[in-house]
Subunit: 263 residues, 2 copies
């Protein structure tokens, strides 16, 4: 038995999110089915991030256990042969058998993309939130600075959460203009339900002049979802990368396994 | 009666191309239907470029005649309210009543996008041709230089064409690396059927080392479709812009119309 880690990219447009639900097809479900067919085992992956319906990923992470003779780094090719075009494995490797993608320290990067121009662009429709009003990047940056650090982000969390500890750390927020797009890149150690979309909605409200940048401090202090800005639409959000702090440890582990010839 | 010019962007994925056909829904058809509903007239637009199934556009051009009281520059908003998300008017304006988008000198810019990395990316699936083999940009540039100028492009034209004069002018071809994409940007005074896709297929064949750059000269001289490289897939191609040489003339015309208050 070995534990395999997958780095997974997907276009979330046609899915009800990562996690299996009754109201549609989930990304997780498609991967489980493909893996089970491939290995002739009943496989259920454990995902790192339960992204919402319509949210995209370049690098979500999942693990599963298998007795398959397929080497860890070959699952990427084996799976991609059978997965649909909107789910593509980016990388696969063997990890320690007790590695759990949600119980280990990690840092996540999310990107929220806004198409900021006069009229929408069809080729951006699935991957960016269209906004007609010109965004003031400098104001958005000022507001973003207030959110960086360790704070109680209760105001920036959907009320539909069961989480009790709403303290999180944001290491950095970049607000960048890329041609006609405005990209909000958030780097932190874990995120509450809808947190990045509420941050994006709040920064948009600052960028359009509706909210003063300094008001964001009051939003944090309020510890009340009503105080912060709206939840920006899912389609603008992409989970870019999950960085595991002990990735070096995992690599060393894998090397020793390879050397032992047990793969 | 006035003549209106539309600049049209679309995601070609779900269409059988620009031109009305029996085997699917055409972009032109959707615009005709929406315009006819909007004006209560029977409107058939004349398109500048009959893009193929799956090809995208940021700026195709079409004109139509109408007695509608909607001002020329307001059609953009009126139409976008009713068009699907994958067709969006970028601009509308009144032009001279004898302006014909195919009978007037123009310059076109096309972009062919290749995703050049180890595994595909789902969010690029619709808009780029995936290629695993690393492309040698310098060799592609050397080959592209041979194609620039006025040549008989018969080798770079689908055999399914009825056009007799296959001489065209290419002003410029840029081959650019944008992160993991390789973009071939072609600027010319008119293109034969499949010409940009055959140029892209040929440059890809040069970039992977299959074809020597200097062989492109022989391809041109052969005046035979068999001599050139394969036709690259439609989804990588986007019609970026159509530039009408006398656009200033049109602007002046429009101004005089506006001043006369006849709109």
């Amino acid at each position: 038995m070995k534990r395999i880690m997958l780095v997974i990219a997907y276009d979330g447009t046609n899915y009800c999110g990562w996690q299996t639900q009754k109201n549609g097809i989930a990304v997780e479900e498609v991967i489980n089915r493909t893996l089970s067919d491939l290995t002739c085992e009943d496989i259920k992956v454990i995902g790192a991030s339960r992204t919402d319906a319509g949210v995209h990923a370049y690098g979500n992470v999942a693990v599963f256990d298998t007795d398959s003779r397929i080497p860890g780094d070959k699952f990427v090719y084996a799976l991609n042969r059978f997965l649909p075009d909107d789910i593509v494995i980016q990388e696969s490797k063997e990890v320690a058998s007790d590695f759990h993608p949600r119980h280990v320290n990690c840092k996540k990067t999310y990107e929220y993309r806004i198409l900021n121009r006069r009229v929408p662009l069809p080729t951006k429709h699935r991957y960016a939130h269209f906004l007609y009003y010109n965004l003031d990047i400098e104001k958005m940056r000022d507001a973003a600075k207030i959110l960086v650090g360790t704070h109680d982000f209760k105001s920036f969390c959907s009320v539909n959460t069961q989480v009790k500890d709403t303290v999180r750390t944001i290491y950095n927020i970049d607000v960048i203009r890329e041609n006609e797009d405005v990209v909000i890149r958030v780097f932190g150690n874990g995120f509450l339900y809808n947190m990045v979309r509420i941050i994006a909605g709040t920064l948009i409200s600052v960028g359009t002049g509706l909210t003063a940048p300094e008001k964001v401090k009051k939003m944090l202090e309020a510890k009340d979802r009503q105080a912060a800005g709206p939840t920006a639409p899912a389609k603008g959000l992409t989970l870019v990368k999950i960085l595991y702090e002990d990735e070096d440890v995992m690599k060393n582990f894998k090397k020793s396994v390879d050397t032992a010839g047990s793969v």
